[in-house]
């Protein structure tokens, strides 16, 4: 196959694969970090043991995801050098610094305090422990800040110019605060949070459906529902703002997202394609359902376009994204999921207001609970779709409008990249299966509700009635001797 002998194509496939796989794990840890801050705060405030047990139970998912996130994150950093050496050299001045900021601001903070958060319950006082949990969440989210800053800059390069193939920075703060930066950071921040909320909600709903610890899990469901009331609509709004920015800054991507082949002038309404089969060869949609005059409303809530929407045909094929169908449908999938989340949130809130989500009657809401279970994996799909729109839509550029992806790849023997790509595919498939298996095992085992609660005296029966039973020693290591 011709494809397999082109090391640039292989490097692109490898980057796509490793990025798509890697993002699955930090999405949960960044969002769930905030949830853990909430439940530990509730525990400290109310001293209700349930919140303490919630913190313990969900942190099991946290640490599982964190481990895989770290292990799959390292290849991302090194790949810039191994497979994209010309890119790294050209943009090192800015992009490289930001990768360094991410490591020093975010990774180190999260890694150092994670140990205390997980294993330090009995080694530090509650305030320090809570502070550690907060710093873990802060660290994880700072990672979102920096990596989205770096990626936004690839979408809308600012703060300098290319001189002899190297990006020379004139103003660092202009480069950091590039046009896409704030919206993109917020969009990803809410994406990780929303995905995590619906994962936690989905797992809680599963227990409620099984009638296992219903009262316990109705608590977590309500916490995430309360958060989703704010997050789900906000995310739709920020998503809209991001779309508007694409309209202003990345005409080729917008044309691909909406499968627009022809020029639509400003000051007039234009048709919006709801569903279509884009055909890149014929430069048209083979089949489509359009909604007349709706494009202006979709882009800006106005009937008339404030600036022209350019059609894909206006660019030469090598100057526009190739995979129009992928971009077009990924975009629609992401939006569909965003609205599904908002709908599920509204429906659940309604039932909550009607008093149908109390611990006694929540398990009767079977359809609603199945809705939450169904929603659990959707956040991941939305995140992946969004990133596909963002990065496949940016093509053929790696640095939008300035450096082409084909010019950014290292000159490597194709066989090397083929071997590494195959290895990543194999290893990541195994990791994925193992992670699903171990997650389902955590779920099946369920929360350990017999954990000793700090500050609560354990009343033991005077005579041990079940001497044959193995009692795990839960005391701190020093006390076990």
């Amino acid at each position: 196959m011709e494809l397999l002998s082109d090391s640039i194509v292989l490097s692109r496939m490898q980057f796509a694969l490793t990025a798509i796989f890697h993002i699955l794990w930090p999405v949960l840890t960044t969002g769930m970090g905030i949830y853990l801050v909430i439940v530990e705060g509730l525990w400290l405030k109310t001293r209700n043991p349930d919140y303490y047990l919630h913190a313990h139970f969900w942190s099991k998912f946290y640490v599982l995801n964190f481990g895989i996130g770290v292990a799959t994150g390292i290849p991302m950093e090194f790949q810039f050098g191994t497979n994209w050496a010309p890119f790294s050299e050209a943009v090192g001045n800015f992009f490289g610094s930001v990768i360094g900021f991410e490591a020093s601001w975010a990774f180190m903070l999260e890694a150092a305090f994670l140990g205390i958060m997980l294993f330090g319950w009995e080694r530090v006082n509650p305030t320090i422990h809570y502070l550690s949990t907060i710093l873990v969440a802060v660290g994880a989210n700072l990672s979102t800040l920096w990596i989205l800053t770096a990626n936004s800059w690839m979408q809308t390069p600012a703060g300098g110019e290319l001189v002899n193939g190297k990006f020379v920075v004139h103003d660092y703060f202009e480069a950091i605060l590039n046009p896409f930066m704030i919206n993109s950071v917020l969009h990803m921040f809410f994406a990780t949070l929303e995905t995590s909320l619906f994962v936690i909600g989905g797992i809680s709903a599963w227990y409620i459906l099984q009638r296992r610890n219903t009262a316990f899990f109705s608590k977590s469901l309500k916490i995430v529902l309360a958060a989703a009331i704010a997050v789900a609509p906000l995310q739709i709004y920020i998503g809209h703002l991001s779309g508007e920015q694409v309209y202003h800054y990345q005409p080729t991507k917008l044309a691909a997202m909406e499968a627009q082949w022809k020029f639509s002038p400003a000051g007039k309404p234009a048709d919006w394609s709801l569903l279509a089969i884009p055909n890149a060869k014929a430069e048209k949609n083979d089949w489509e359902i359009t909604i007349p005059n709706a494009l202006g409303y979709i882009l800006e809530f106005k009937q008339n376009l404030s600036q022209p929407v350019r059609g894909l045909k206006e660019w030469k094929p090598e100057d526009r994204p190739k995979m129009v169908g992928l971009i077009y449908y990924s975009f629609r999938i992401m939006i569909g999921i965003g609205f599904f989340f908002a709908g599920l949130m509204l429906l659940s809130s309604l039932q909550w207001l009607r008093g149908k989500l109390s611990a006694d009657n929540i398990s009767q809401q079977r359809w609603l609970m199945w809705g939450w279970v169904f929603a659990a994996p959707l956040g991941y799909i939305a995140v992946e779709s969004g990133w596909i729109v963002r990065c496949v839509g940016r093509q053929p550029w790696v640095l939008y409008g300035q450096i082409r992806t084909v010019d950014a790849a290292s000159h490597l023997p194709a066989s090397n990249v083929l071997v590494s790509l195959t290895s990543f595919t194999t290893v990541y498939t195994l990791l994925f299966i193992a992670a699903l298996y171990f997650s389902s095992r955590i779920i099946r085992t369920g929360p350990n509700l017999d954990l000793p609660i700090p500050g609560v005296e354990i009343t033991k029966p005077a005579v041990d009635t079940t001497p044959a039973e193995f009692v795990p020693d839960e005391r701190p290591v020093e006390a076990q001797q």
């Binding site: 313990h56 599982l64 481990g67 810039f80 610094s97 490591a103 920075v169 193992a434």
Partner: protein, 337 residues
């Protein structure tokens, strides 16, 4: 401006060397413990070994991520050329990291622990091996054109000297891993690692002697540097100090001291780093690209000092803090809830 052109890259050379040094010490014992776990006979022991790392392995590994990020920002040309040239050793290291990283949590959750024990041990070994090859290749030199881009072949990194460096690095990691376990464990487990520590001290010494002798013979560049006045006096002192440190280390292991062996080993690593630094500086790719040629723009280096440099004390503080929180011997094989 003239002085800045020299001063800033030098500052970053020192900062990155410091990050790399911390990494080699901290992940060195981390990987060393992993390699030693391959020799562990029973499950409980392996449990203790992994528990002794459970709260710190990711922070330790993060020093490398930080070093690489810093290298990318401060010396983009070196970052891209070195990694491009070392495609295979880097991949060897990465896959080692993946397996050992996920093993911590997977082993906890798994009922068939043997598979993840193996992933942890073999992963640690593989990661160390990849690093050793990478170090050996950089010391040997990377073929570049006049613009500093890599023009060698995929297998340039593999040579007898780089194999020697890789094996010695693994011995060094086993040594520091052993002395770390002497510090963190008790009883029979501690006894075992007094023995592995002694053995590793000897094998490291043999490797170091070989490298010290062969380096000036094989590499003209290193030879010129070594016999340059007045550096020759420092270079003459390093092997003497090294032998003295190893002797002190062996003594402390014989006396069954608990912390001293770890500290002597760290001092050995410091000495090695000083020696390497003096041979390499002011190059970042020996004999090819100097730090001044590879450096990013001065404004980038200044911004990075503000955004990263000032955080160094903070990072050191909270890393140290968590070592203090988890001080003391590790006895249980359980993580604890």
């Amino acid at each position: 401006m003239e002085t800045l052109q020299y001063f800033l890259p030098q500052v970053w050379f020192v900062i990155l060397a410091f990050f790399l040094f911390l990494y080699v010490i901290l992940d060195g014992f981390d990987l060393g413990v992993g390699i030693l776990s391959l020799t562990s006979s029973d499950e409980q022991r392996r449990g203790i070994l992994m528990t002794s790392l459970s709260n710190i392995w990711d922070a330790n590994e993060t020093w490398l991520v930080l070093m690489a990020g810093g290298l990318f920002g401060a010396f983009p040309l070196a970052y891209s050329t070195i990694l491009n040239a070392l495609y295979i050793p880097i991949l060897i290291m990465i896959f080692g990291f993946i397996f050992r990283g996920v093993a911590f949590e997977f082993r906890e959750l798994s009922q068939r622990k043997i598979f993840w024990n193996l992933a942890f041990g073999v992963g640690s070994f593989t990661a160390a091996l990849g690093q050793g090859f990478a170090l050996g290749a950089v010391l040997k030199g990377i073929k570049v054109d006049e613009t500093g881009h890599f023009i060698g072949s995929t297998w340039d990194w593999l040579s007898l000297p780089s194999i020697l460096v890789a094996l010695t690095l693994i011995q060094g990691y086993v040594l520091i891993g052993s002395t770390y376990l002497v510090w963190k464990t008790t009883g029979e487990l501690q006894n075992t690692h007094y023995k592995t520590g002694k053995l590793a001290a000897w094998t490291t010494l043999i490797g170091a002697v070989f490298i010290t002798i062969t380096t000036p013979i094989i590499y003209e560049g290193a030879r010129m540097r070594l016999f340059q006045q007045p550096l020759v006096y420092i270079f003459a002192l390093i092997p003497v100090l090294g032998v003295w440190l190893i002797w002190q280390l062996l003594q402390s292991l014989n006396r069954k001291e608990e912390r001293a062996p770890f500290i002597w080993t760290i001092l050995l690593f410091v000495l090695t780093f000083l020696g390497l630094g003096l041979i390499i500086f002011p190059y970042i790719i020996p004999r090819q690209i100097t730090i001044y040629e590879a450096a990013a723009d001065p404004s980038s280096l200044v911004i990075m000092i503000i955004f990263i440099g000032f955080l160094i004390p903070v990072m050191l503080f909270y890393n140290l803090y968590q070592y203090i929180v988890f001080r003391g011997k590790v006895t249980g094989g359980e993580y604890g809830e």
